[in-house]
Amino acid sequence: MASLSHVALTTEEVEALGKNLNQILEYVQKVKGEEGEVAHAHRNVMRADENPHEVGVWSKRLLNAASQTDGDHFASQTILKND
């Protein structure tokens, strides 16, 4: 689960969280088997694509929060390899 969640855990955390997780999952199983329909009361709300802000006005502020940047871009290690 930790791998699927992209969270590295220590051995102690695996033991502690594992024990509690079973207890919690057992509790929430109360709703298992719930039948009926899901009401689709939700609706999509689209925002008109108008009055855009000037290109780049937010860039500096947003990039300031990043640990690494490359010019006007966020920088990270390689995500896709070009094999």
Binding site: V7, A8, L17, L21, Q23, L25, Y27, Q29, A39, R47
Partner: protein, 459 residues
């Protein structure tokens, strides 16, 4: 001249109007009180320096506290997590902008459970806030810092956020009023997301009048939050019909809390309101459904903390390992636990069994509550099963989750709910406040305030 423990917004406005003090005096007094009390209570993670003169408006010069998951441009925001180390908000939340435009000034950012995950502030990465009524006890959470800041006289009122009770429960533990508005009533633009179908920003204040004033200022449609919407208008009511689902809470709450609740119901009945015993068996599974839906949404929302765009960043041999190491170092245990639960209930093979079932339950809960509010104005319960507990008293997470048992139905169904102090109970020689919770139909905050005023008048 300024008693920060009891001063309300209305009284402060009158004091300013009469020339008894200036907005600068208000700031200086509250700021000094907050600094002094904070060394014991630790309500604030950071106290701000005074900035520009306040604008003209309904909140002119009112010193407010701000939960650390609500962005205020140019100020740090951490959601009490190490993973947002060094993060400075590049813009302000709409609720913050609205308060500033109305003349409010923010004293500082308040402590909370990390990413709003908890009911005690014990999950803050920076240490727990203490309850001003008894420093050995929790202030509630996750907006525990906001509630404690007001209760210790370190702010005239505060903004918090409520995903499953995070405004109402600390308000109850600290003897204050707390409002969880109708879903969509207040913009969440600039709120660090936890459970996006549940989160709402709301006020914590010393009386119902201030709570209503703050709500009216922060509510409204915001083009930057497409879940915000115009509310249907309801009028306040003089004679309320209040439904009480005794079988839902009688065995789950402490005896003296139930006794106090019944006393308060009797006082409301004597004041001319109608009290009806109702059955709402659907409520019994709300907590289970909440602890499926909330972690599912939280695990999704927290995927954005990748060490690349903001906050803490740890190295790894590749991008995946860097991502995992950042989250290992940056997130605390409770956050990791909820990410794991969320990932589990959304994973292939378990999705329908857990998340699907919880979603179906949520629909039937909402339907049942809608039917109930066709006949009555309010559903009333205690806000919490027990008064504030001592630090370390609750070790296993499930016992802490049970703190939310009465508050989560309002979040799951999107209805508004208000916690109002109903008196105190005694624990180890401390008089500890407990709240009464009123829930109403969608958009009907007006009737909640009517009920809140009725309780205030009953003392």
């Amino acid at each position: 001249m300024i008693d920060t423990n009891s001063l309300t917004i209305k009284e402060a406005q009158e004091g300013l109007g009469a020339g008894l003090y200036s907005t600068q005096d208000l700031w200086a007094t509250y700021s000094a009180e907050a600094k002094e009390k904070n060394s014991d209570v630790f309500a604030y993670l950071e106290l701000f320096e005074r900035e520009n003169s306040p604008k003209e408006g309904a909140l002119k010069g009112m010193p407010l506290a701000l939960k650390d998951n609500i962005l205020f441009e140019g100020h740090r925001a951490s959601a009490s997590s190490k993973i947002l180390e060094g993060y400075v908000a590049p813009y302000s939340a709409t609720a913050v902008t609205k308060c500033l435009d109305a003349g409010a000034v923010f004293l500082g950012r308040t402590n909370m459970d990390e990413f709003a995950m908890g009911s005690s502030t014990e999950n803050s990465a920076f240490g727990a806030t203490k309850n001003p009524h008894d420093l050995a006890r929790i202030p509630g959470g996750s907006s525990g810092g906001s509630a404690a800041a007001v209760a210790m006289g370190g702010a005239i009122a505060a903004l918090g956020s409520d995903t499953g009770g995070s405004i109402r429960q600390p308000a109850s533990h600290c003897g204050l009023i707390g409002l969880k508005p109708t879903y969509g009533a207040v913009s969440r633009y600039g709120l660090i997301a936890m459970g996006s179908s549940l989160d709402q920003i709301g006020p914590i204040a010393k009386n119902v009048e201030d709570t209503e004033l703050l709500f009216n200022i922060i509510k409204g449609v915001d083009p930057f939050d497409s879940t915000s919407r115009e509310q249907e208008k309801f009028a306040p009511k003089k004679n309320l019909t209040i439904g009480v689902p005794y079988s839902f809470f009688e065995n789950a709450a402490d005896e003296d809390v139930v006794a106090l609740f019944k006393e308060k119901m009797k006082a409301l009945e004597d004041a001319g309101h109608t009290i009806k015993s109702i059955e709402l068996p659907v409520l019994s599974d709300a907590l289970a459904a909440y602890y499926i839906i909330m972690p599912a949404e939280a695990s999704t929302n927290l995927a954005r903390f990748d060490g690349i765009r903001y906050g803490l960043s740890k190295e790894g041999k590749d991008v995946r390992e860097a991502y995992e190491n950042t989250r290992k170092e940056g997130f605390g245990s409770e956050v990791k636990r909820r990410i794991l639960i969320g990932t589990y209930v959304l994973s292939a093979g378990y999705h329908d069994e857990f998340y699907g079932a919880a979603t179906r339950y949520r629909a039937s809960l909402t339907n049942e509550l809608t039917k109930v509010f066709a006949d009555i104005d309010i559903v009333a319960t205690p806000t919490v099963p027990s008064p504030a507990y001592t630090f370390g008293e609750k070790q296993d997470p499930l016992s802490v989750y049970l703190e939310d048992i009465f508050t989560v139905p309002a979040n799951l169904s999107g209805i508004p709910a208000l916690s109002v102090p109903m008196g105190t109970v005694t624990r180890t020689q401390s008089q500890l406040p407990v709240g009464i919770q009123f829930m109403a139909g969608h958009d009907n905050e007006a009737v909640l305030f009517s009920a809140g005023f009725a309780v205030e008048n009953s003392f």
